[in-house]
Symmetry: C2
Subunit: 342 residues, 2 copies
């Protein structure tokens, strides 16, 4: 095969081929009123023929718009986050934006580096679900300094003002606890994935409130356990808990993974769900119904959360300040009672 010398044409060469100026070509391609219909047609045909595609970065440089947004999240191999991304992507695609994906791996240091990379024009906006370690917002201030809109989804930060879309976490936690209490549980425990994430804390607070309302007197640190280590550490911790003499008779997983840990631990320890342990999880796992036993979930609208967050972001990109930084969007969760709480 002949190595085709398809010299990529840029606007300059295209202009030369047409005996026009680059200015005219540029304007013709974006259907400017300054150009006659006749030349517009010629230019557009030639562009097609020579397969001209404008260099996006040259264009970004001049227009100071990148048509790109960043989504930064802790992990991607997670049911919730991959659904959220899907929602974000749906809107981005609709708007013709490109999507840069970054993972913080739950590290603040990495998150900082990521935000750094988002500045200086790389992106027009940022969607972020913060890491467990993110207790300071200093890195995010760079973004407001450069007027780059930010929207939180799921994991937001209290100390930084930006629109956020979350779920009714307190109520959901309250609901989960009550459900377990109704089933006669005496020692329910909330497995929190973080002591710093507001979303987790709200869920935990709701849970504890329900216990208090029901007259429980136990110490909070018996009812609330932080599993904020690595996956392996968390699993070990859950397993240890279920093996200890103060084994709970029910757990609420603040995230899907913790509930899964409980399932595996029970399997390994020979405990039976729901007889020995009832389980509820904040989760959007589609296959919850076919787990053994089927898992009761407080289902978060992951896809919709992503969509909504993206919509807000674009709204603020197109019209800065349209959605106020103080606004919070609460999407409702849904409760599905299944085999793990029978």
């Amino acid at each position: 095969m002949q190595p085709e010398q398809i010299k990529k044409v840029n606007i300059k060469e295209l202009a030369r081929l047409l005996s026009l100026s680059t200015a005219t070509v540029s304007k013709a391609l974006k259907d400017s009123y300054e150009i006659s219909e006749q030349t517009k047609k010629k230019v557009q045909e030639a562009a097609l023929k020579y397969n001209y595609t404008p260099n996006p970065y040259a264009s970004s440089l001049r227009k100071k718009k990148s048509k790109t947004i960043a989504v930064v999240l802790p992990e991607v191999d997670d049911n919730y986050f991959s659904l959220a991304i899907k929602g974000i992507q749906a809107i981005a695609e609709e708007k013709g934006y490109h999507l840069l994906m970054y993972l913080s791996h739950e590290k603040l240091s990495i998150e900082k580096a990521i935000i750094d990379a988002c500045t200086s024009g790389r992106v027009d906006g940022v969607l972020i679900s913060i890491s467990k370690e993110s207790n300071t917002a200093s890195h995010l201030n760079q973004l407001i300094a450069e007027q780059i809109p930010v929207v939180f989804f799921d994991r937001a930060m209290d100390v930084f003002e930006a629109p956020r879309v979350i779920t009714n976490d307190f109520e959901s936690g309250y609901y989960a606890a009550n459900l377990l209490l109704e089933k006669g549980c005496k020692k329910p425990v909330f497995l929190s994935v973080s002591s710093s994430l507001p979303i987790c804390n709200l869920r935990a607070e709701g849970f504890l409130k329900a216990l208090t309302d029901a007259g429980f007197k136990g110490k909070a640190n018996d009812q609330l356990i932080y599993c904020d280590g690595t996956d392996a550490e968390n699993y070990a911790q859950v397993k240890k808990l279920l093996k200890s003499k103060k084994r709970p008779d029910a757990v609420v997983g603040s995230v899907e993974r913790l509930a899964i840990h409980a399932y595996f631990a029970c399997q390994e320890l020979g405990l039976t769900i729901p007889k020995d342990l009832k389980v509820v999880a904040f989760s959007s796992l589609e296959i919850a119904p076919i787990l053994n036993p089927s898992l009761s979930t407080i289902t978060q609208p992951a896809f919709e959360t992503g969509k909504k967050a993206a919509e807000i972001l674009f709204s603020n990109i197109e019209k800065p300040g349209k959605v106020k930084a103080s606004e919070t969007f609460i999407l409702p969760t849904a409760y599905f009672e299944r085999g793990s709480t029978l």
Copy 2:
């Protein structure tokens, strides 16, 4: 709060502040030998102080390198793909590259548009897992025309020469069938997600070969069913199959989702796995052991596939032609026999 006028400094202003030229500043920042240690230090300190970050697109434009790669895949809310992305991201992060994520939603037309967006300098390389509809490679030719390295992962294209990393699909299909035959299955069926994807076809061929070797005489189209519609359509199809009078006594899901469909269908139809139907799936589902019943899987090394593909891509970005287009990397699958085939 005072609206801080943090005027973002660019290299020009930084140079002015230092009474130096932009050339000197630029060189100082990248530790050029042309600049004295003294000025280097001054410049670097000033850059830090004024929080200077080079505009990435200006830099890309001049250097003709974007430090960005694209990963294009059919869907993201899929266990396999999200793990693959994780692997890709790990390498990209290590190399200091940015990751543009695109979804084709199994549409060739969208895939074409995506590839189009990847040209003209937007990315330095492309990792792709093609859509079900992708039966032509014309869109990918644009990439070779612009010398943009491409690497396939998982779903490769026969008619386009690029390095690919896949699994030992034929053998795995063969293995899956044999396992079912050993269990005494008389009517095993392969559920293929596509009639065009080589990866699927290989798995199917291995499966059929095992049947032939075992002396099966049935028509291939009774043993091989294409579920290449939407999710809902596929589910309906699987359900219909399991309800029909020629209901199979075992199915092999060419992808995770099809096996999940079978689980749900059985649940709805009152069929019991593995008694009424045995199930094996090509899958990398971590929670396969806690399904009801636990799912026998041919586990694909999703994470490693992503990593390997990314490594090859960077190898070809850094040294064009390093990995030949004809090379195929085969990563081994692992078989886990669980409750669904007992």
